[in-house]
């Protein structure tokens, strides 16, 4: 048996998995753009106090509603705050919500989905019917209701968005588990006496990871979009904080006079969501075992 396995490895040229992964991922221009945009957003969020030309909360009442000019590249809002600085600081909330809620939802969703798929039977039926129930409510509407009930603010928004994303992960992981658990190595693990938790996390979960990673990247864009929508409706991040969604709403009142106040933060949302979607697309190609060795 060992001999056969050896000759197979010799017959195939060695492929550097990491290098192949990077090459496939960055092979498409839009995906490379997405990666760069996400890195830029992360850097902007971390170094916001250094990069931003002004304090995002400083109200300079002499400079209210200025046109874009050399001092204020994107102008100022109705309280004299610098739009560009607020957009840079807004990246913090967008990333925090985008990444944070996805991690929360994916963690809970993975565990629940693993349990449902692994044990099957009535546990599966109860969990999946409840998931169907949550999925019958549009995610935005669900997030809206939970955010409003918990009270506006970062914590409420994060719980609300996580809950809205949760059923997607339960379904995804559960479906994966159902197919993975039929594999022979799972039965082999059973027969050598690995505990059920050990089988679930050491043998089944690693084989569900690639679709999970793709889904998580895609959902980061959606999470940012839901947060922005909640903030736009006045049920998300509270006003003085610089959140892109509420900036679009604030600017809406001055649309005739200073359209840039709405357009600029909206562009920021769009670029970041687009970037996450494209990277998700790229990851799907790069992690697809059928495409291994291509490109």
């Amino acid at each position: 048996m060992n001999k056969g396995a050896q000759s197979v490895t010799e017959a195939l040229p060695r492929v550097n998995e990491l290098r192949r992964f990077v090459r496939v991922l960055l092979g498409r221009g839009v995906v490379a753009f997405g990666v760069i945009a996400i890195i830029a957003t992360i850097l902007a969020a971390i170094f916001a106090p250094i990069i931003a030309p002004y304090d995002p909360y400083a109200q300079i009442l002499d400079d209210v509603l200025q046109q874009p000019n050399s001092q204020h590249l994107l102008g100022t809002d109705s309280l004299g705050r610098d739009t560009l600085s607020r957009i840079i600081f807004g990246a913090r909330i967008a990333l925090l919500v985008g990444v944070g809620t996805v991690v929360i939802a994916a963690s809970f969703g993975t565990v629940i989905g693993l349990i449902a798929g692994y044990f099957g039977g009535w546990i599966f039926t109860i969990i999946m019917r409840f998931t169907d129930g949550i999925m019958a409510i549009p995610p935005l509407l669900l997030a809206l209701v939970i955010a409003a009930l918990l009270g506006t603010g970062l914590k409420g928004v994060m719980i609300a968005v996580s809950f809205a994303l949760l059923p997607g992960y339960i379904r995804l992981v559960c479906g994966q588990v159902l197919s993975v658990k039929e594999n022979e190595y799972v039965m082999a693990a059973h027969s050598v006496g690995v505990s059920q938790i050990g089988i679930m996390f050491r043998y089944i979960l690693p084989n569900c990871l690639s679709p999970l990673i793709v889904q998580m990247t895609m959902m980061m864009g959606l999470a940012i979009l839901i947060e922005a929508s909640l903030s736009f409706l006045g049920l998300g991040i509270k006003p003085p904080s610089a959140a892109w969604g509420s900036m679009v709403y604030d600017g809406y009142k001055y649309l005739v006079m200073r359209p840039i106040l709405s357009i600029a933060p909206g562009m920021a949302i769009m670029v970041v969501v687009f970037a996450f979607n494209m990277v998700g697309d790229g990851l799907r190609d790069a992690l697809d075992p059928r495409l291994r060795g291509t490109l």
Binding site: V30, L144, A148, G245, S262, I263, M270
Partner: protein
């Protein structure tokens, strides 16, 4: 086929029941006391504990939760979703006034999405790698990422404020003034349709490309059929199957999007009702709207499932 439909029907009823339970629990278990809202809405600032207890008793909120739930459910089944806490109007009646507006805009967007989306996807797949394909891909990707509220604002800026072609916002019934209705509805419908068009185009493109690789398509080419015949007869029938399953999700998305669109364009539909209800913490209204939305989604999913079972004979006897 009949057993399939019956089974789907039972599943749908079960899901609606679960949604009703979820909505009820959500409203009762999360912080925020409807009684306090009820009191704060009036001019009773300092209210005694006895008065609160009396009020709770009067509204039936001092009973155990299961009793309250069953009572609410019983009334809901009989068409009574309660009264608005703040304004005392009948919730179902108000929904009845507003649902047609939301459905009119939503279904128009849905139909447009169902026609234009797959069409763009097919064109894109057939001309794969050409400039037309690239153009469609860019449009589709922008379409699924553009925040709907922002898209609405941009449209208002361009077509209403800058060009002065369309009214900024508002809604007029088509039975009152059809021309005005069309002018006011075109932008909201466009915003609602953007996501369905974009995601249907993406899905159609990839599934058409997948089907074009199949052996039977090569056979169709080999026997000398024209491009039109190959695409129409052999590719489309099979490629559009996965697109059909997407429709349920798209409809759910449109209903969710109507919350945003109705707020941006000040349209008195269900979405506006639920946002206003949420901002004023009018729980009975929110509870009622979500239940009606969930029933709408479940029924449309049921329709998609049955349509799929009818289109794909392999599903029927599963």
């Amino acid at each position: 086929m009949t057993t399939y439909i019956i089974r789907r029907l039972m599943h749908a009823v079960l899901v609606v029941l679960i949604v009703s339970l979820l909505v009820f629990l959500l409203m009762r278990l999360l912080p925020g006391d409807p009684i306090l809202m009820y009191v704060a809405s009036g001019d009773l600032q300092s209210i005694s504990k006895e008065q609160v207890a009396h009020l709770k008793h009067k509204l039936g909120m001092d009973r155990p939760l299961p009793v309250q739930y069953l009572d609410w459910l019983k009334n809901a089944v009989q068409g009574d979703l309660g009264k608005s806490i703040l304004y005392r109007y009948d919730v179902l009646g108000e929904i009845g006034n507003r649902l047609p507006i939301t459905l009119y805009l939503g279904l128009s967007a849905f139909v447009i999405g169902c026609i234009i989306g797959p069409l763009l996807g097919i064109i894109s797949a057939v001309r794969r790698g050409k400039w037309l394909d690239n153009l469609v891909t860019v449009i589709a990707n922008v379409g699924i990422t553009a925040p709907p509220f922002w898209l609405g604002i941009i449209l208002i800026f361009i077509f209403s404020l800058y060009l002065g072609l369309l009214p900024v916002y508002g809604y007029t019934s088509p039975f009152v003034d059809l021309w005005k209705n069309l002018q006011q509805s075109i932008m909201p419908i466009f915003v609602l349709a953007t996501f369905p068009i974009a995601s249907a185009a993406r899905q159609t493109r990839s599934s058409v490309i997948e089907v074009m690789r199949q052996d039977y398509v090569r056979t169709a080419w080999a026997k000398g059929l024209s491009e039109r015949m190959v695409i129409m007869r052999h590719v489309l029938k099979n490629a559009l199957m996965p697109v059909v399953t997407l429709q349920g999700m798209l409809l759910r998305n449109i209903i969710g999007g109507s919350v945003i669109v109705e707020t941006v364009f000040a349209i008195p539909g269900m979405g506006k009702l639920v946002v206003d209800g949420m901002l004023s913490q009018d729980y009975t209204v929110v509870q009622g709207v979500i239940l009606v939305v969930a029933v709408t989604v479940v029924v449309s999913n049921l329709a998609v499932d049955i349509l799929y079972g009818w289109l794909d004979p392999r599903i029927q006897y599963e």
